[in-house]
Symmetry: D4
Subunit: 253 residues, 8 copies
């Protein structure tokens, strides 16, 4: 029951087509999502300008293709994360306009993917080493699929500090930084001490030995002495991008 | 060596008061912070409008008082976190304008603490249970000391969902939410699914048994299925507030 | 807004005292708990016959006393867990009928505490060693405060199997067993293999060395080969009792 | 030695066919299960109406088939968990009436599987996301194989709270809820705060990064602030169902 | 019901003083420990020559004293572990013959404590550092209280290998070695490679940093490449001694 | 340098063929194993009657075959653990008398494997479930290859206590018990409370969910309230057998 | 901008070809690495005599080959770690002088690999067991590729102490020892107590059960009672060698 | 038996005062430390110029004083770590020349403590924050007590990178760096990427929340992408200093 239906019902009450008891009963019984128009309606708006997302990892190629096709009927921007080439083959058969970002493992359908919106101030997505690239690309492509400009700077980990300092002027101009790092994970904390923008830190499961599948960089980032950074789950490039998009959308109601 | 000194040096070169070798040597030897005018000068601006912060926990009352007094000579907003009443006694003797926020364990000096700046849209600081209050208050008072308006909603944990839903309309109006929770820590993830604002999640060490000093809510928050939230360290209310202030300052250069 | 207010509002609509827009606005804005008459009203019933509970550990004696006094105005059964003798002194000054169960660390107000309701089939609360007694008593006294009969059998851990077998006939007659154990925590699993009743297992933080504050018995219980048992948090005697009460109340809707 | 044999022996003593020493020796030597008539005889009854269960994971298809065939000679309801299609092929060759539940990975033989016993109040088996489905189905099919009606509600995780609230009226009518969740695992705790029934929580190993193979949801569930829920092992859908069956059988002797 | 009572009962049957039904009922109802004469009677023998043990840590001085006094009525050797001087004061008031071993934290009553039984081959109790001494002494005094000779060699950790090699000839003569070590815990494994006797390894919680309360030496001992050693719980000197006594008693039925 | 060479050297000194300085130098430089005749010579004796063991897991079939052939030139009993059928093929080509124990994954060469030495009192090797069988068999076959009689009792885990009690009389007759268990690992502790023999506990990596590859049963065994048991590494059936052999060899120096 | 360019710029200022503002701007804008001549120029020197290293694990054979070829244009010593035979095939096609060290998994290009520089005092690289060999070889070959002499001693773990003592005289002559060990990891600590040289300890992931992929030896090494050793990451043979090379280069500026 | 005694013995053999059998017996029986003159004699030399060290934490003031006094009879440099003021009072009564370093918690007796040996190149001891100071001072004072010059640079953590860069020229001149850091522990890795000297990393237990008593910085340091650093135990400033002293003593054998 949406607002239009509610108004019809109240109109019927007003014209004695139904009585008060009947209205009370209808209200009592209406599904929660119907009540949503008052309180839970933010979901639609929330996602305006946002992509609909399919987590491909535990789904068959055919399932992913079917879901994306259905989503494309109602949404302008649709994407699947953790997608394999096999997923893409199935999707491309149904949605020829779909694009596969191999390193990011993302299948994307978006109107402006080609014409990267450089006019906006670009979110910086940086990573410490080349092996962090898949996670960083997941973040970057997610942002681009959502219509955001991205500035990529890779391989600027703290063990070669000059590379980081070299990239610093550009990073200081970014409104927001997503910093991806595995192994010891020190990059986001160092960066947060050098810039004024908020830093979203993404630990990766890259590394061996005592990296423990990402626990080491996760702890490093949580314990950073620098203020102004927050952490998302290990390898969660998508989540970092989604948070960034929320932050960028602040104040735009 | 700041820009003025550099110009003097170059002027001297131009007038042969020094030779090229001497200038090269001076540049070679100049301390890194002097170079900062080019690249590292953001620090000053970064902190404009921000409080200078003393971490009181490992310091004596006298040390905290001395540091705060010195900071007050140059800064308008100064605060100490994890401060005890004993810390406050020492500070108040030197800085009569200081205020002690007991639950938040913060000593604050700020021009507008009294006149809470309600005109701004207020950051929501919410917590799941009353025992999470000290951490939530650390976040809230930090924001207020930085000159930000705060909307507090306490005790709205997910085990009594109606309280959360009751507070929802107000929370949906906030530009940013800091959500503090111990024990199972589910509040931030549930909230992130209901609002459009970014959510900064703060796990607390509240709880017993398998809460393991905050590990349980930390993991819950990192693994939240909801997009749009990021996590700071256990009990780090200050860090969440500082990140929030950075986010709110975005685009204000 | 409860049902009565809703009817008044609809009546006003019917008589043109308000228009449809106003009703829609009122419905849109009404607090969630008001909607509860449809869906969230179970809370009241849920607690019928149940005790209202105060977690005393992080509260001052005066706070506990005040809260309990206020709860007693509306509830027949009120209790505080993790309460110290100091908590009890403060409570007893306001509520002379309160009783302090020292081992269980519970302050209880209940009409039938004295006359233990032996007519009902008693829930068995058993523990492996004498050091598990505080947790077992927390469970037992909670049940009694909720008006349930309890059969206590202590010190029947598996390292002296004859004691367990000795108590078996009585335990096999219980409709439900709460089994409390620290150290290696094997009692609940062994018991679940010998009885037909469901077993609620409570690990305790009793033990030293590799017991790791209750992790060892917790893992033992989770991994039990025996079917028919479930686990609550370490030292959470209250939680086990509350679950037991829910199970016993099944079908009495 | 069962009771009949004991009576024969005592009769022989009475008629001097044996002497007292011989009887003492016979009693001393009699196998423990024979003594069972006094104390351990609950096992047979315990399993009445319950399925005999084979854990297929570490067994060859031929072993599973042979064991199930043998069990079917004496039992009406027999099932194998963690079974692959290969297991089923071997079983179906011997037991044509066997049914394979692919998602649940269960091979079942039961008289009433086809005619789902809808007259009973149905146990609710809910899960947070589609990837939790195998574990939820293991629970649901186990209950059905034991002759219990099941109400399934999938994909109602807390990150989309409206779906949960939508399902709430049905769930509030269930006598018992099995709630399955991976990732952050908040569903069971939220649910326990909304219903009156006991909730059996099953963490799953679904998730990535800091989910740590199910540790994150396990801790969330153990630490839930809501009373009235207990936890079984990670991915242990069968165990949850078996506990549920025990609870439902309470008071039916 | 012991054997004597059983014979009386059977005699009564034989003489028609009772009938078969009555005997069956008596047997059916007899407490499990009574059945023990057949199978569980090893307990008495098991403890012959062994001390009765009280774990003092969680008990008051008066409780320990009372329990020890009662045990002394029936047993020759009685001891309390983890005992404080306050425990001893209370015990000594009731049992003047009790002896307090301060480092071992044991109160012992034993007939031959004074005259150490040097004729037997002595169990070697060795420890790596002086801080492991309390645990090693708990093992040594336990053995002596049980009437066993002990050879002590302290401070022979592997970081000063010459001390270990120096003690080697004596250790090679011991029938059994208890090796106690904290920090890195390498002593038992090195020792097991040098002697022919079985080695019981006891990790201690001595150490700091990454020793993690005994986890480090525990893991070291479990992973020792040397065959011929087994591990008991952290700080469990008593347990090691008890196991040693069992091993020494083998074949003495 | 063995004793014979030393005597030659001293003879040369006596006859002035060498001078004192030269002897001192030779002694100073002599390899440690030469000194061994004094102190480290126990190794030969230590292994008398013991098998030489090859850990096959990280070796190629050809390597294992070559090593075993070489060992067989000097030793009567040789075995390889963690061996695959491929290992066995390579070994059998060189050593036709070798036997492959498939469940135990052991290749063995021993004189008396066929004629099991039943005259000796047999070590009991028991396991909780059928999935623990490979580890239990590794222990049992190791003992048999070392010339020890073994009593096997499988599938007597504590969740079906009657099976354990049924096997108890035989187990109480064993001089030593090796108890193997995965999942919750309670069997060894329960057993240690019922027998007089020392119990060597072996946790296995069998299980799922919160068994964590054997950590759960390992902790259970370390924390057992029962005295008289010690623990070896997870899945280390060989180590348990080797320790057992050392214990059985005590006093036969 | 290097020093030469700076001098040109200053010369231009001196001759009025540019003005002061232009020089300030150029300095302000110059990339950080250009400033490096003053402070960060150590990198070049640092690596003199050192190999350029490619981490092959996450790269394709073609990528590794291309990178190594490019590095060889500027460097005398180039190596790839964690390289497979497939990597080597691709590299050898481009760089015929490359050598593949199979156990070490290293592809190396170095002028003096053939003529091992035995004149230098050799760094000792020792390992506890044969399964630690790949990690030890990674360290040894890295050192040799860097032009360092290496003394290898394998299989000298502490469970057979005589082998260690046998190798001791040679080890005592080494200026530095790299000690590699898995399982219980006691070798480096024992060694550090016997020699005067610094010991770099490398834990390996060799082992099973409670070795936990290298955590056990890592903790052992960190907690060693012996002074004079430090630890690198699990399996990090390369890192140990690189640290050793740094130490050996000390004082050679 | 030292070399002198051996020569006497051989002389006796030469003069027939003893026979060969007697010499063989004497050699066979001589204590291991006597053999030490050949192989284990490095200990004395090893410690030349090194301090004798007492670990005060687990000792009484009187014990520490007595041990230090005895050590001072034979050694020039003696120190106690983890010493309290109470320890110092007791020591000062016996050794008036002793000095107490309060922050470092070290009591030292050394000839040249006053006249800091500035001629040598100084080891740099740096720490990230002021709360790491006690551990850094433990390292620095240990080195000074051993007669080494120390360059201290405190509070140069990576969250304020300019402070680190500012100190860089001095640090680049140091032959060896000890870098101490808690919280996220990134300093040593960043430093190792900027200098040519080996870096000894010391994690501290400073921090809160997810720092877990030093685990977070420990993992950060182990996983550093930078080569050329190694790690010692948490808070082990003494161990880092001792390793540094060993490295500095290399080649001075």
């Amino acid at each position: 029951m949406d607002e239009r239906h509610l108004r019809v019902l109240l109109q019927q009450l007003k014209t004695d087509a139904v009585d008060i008891d009947a209205v009370v009963e209808r209200l009592r019984a209406m599904p929660v999502q119907d009540l949503g128009f008052a309180r839970l309606d933010t979901h639609r708006e929330l996602r305006q300008g946002f992509a609909e997302v399919v987590y491909a990892e535990s789904k068959t190629p055919q399932q992913v293709a079917t879901i994306m096709q259905r989503l494309c009927e109602h949404h302008e921007r649709v994407m699947a994360t953790r997608a394999t080439p096999a997923h893409f083959s199935a999707v491309a058969a149904l949605l020829p306009q779909a694009v596969y970002h191999e390193v990011a493992r993302i299948i994307a359908v978006a109107p402006d993917q080609a014409t990267c919106p450089l006019a906006q101030p670009a979110v910086a997505v940086v990573c410490a080493g080349t092996s962090d690239l898949p996670v960083a690309e997941e973040a970057a492509v997610t942002l681009e699929t959502m219509g955001r400009a991205v500035l990529r700077r890779n391989d600027i980990g703290v063990s070669g500090l000059h590379r980081l300092l070299d990239a610093l002027p550009e990073l200081q101009a970014a409104p927001l930084i997503i910093a991806v790092a595995g192994m010891e994970g020190a990059l986001p904390g160092v960066l947060a001490g050098l810039v004024r923008a908020p830093v979203v830190a993404v630990p990766t499961s890259v590394g061996y030995g005592a990296a423990f599948g990402g626990i080491a960089p996760l702890l490093t980032m949580l314990n950073s002495c620098a203020s102004g950074l927050a952490v998302v789950n290990i390898d969660n490039g998508f989540g970092a991008a989604h948070l960034a998009a929320r932050i960028l959308a602040m104040g735009k109601g």
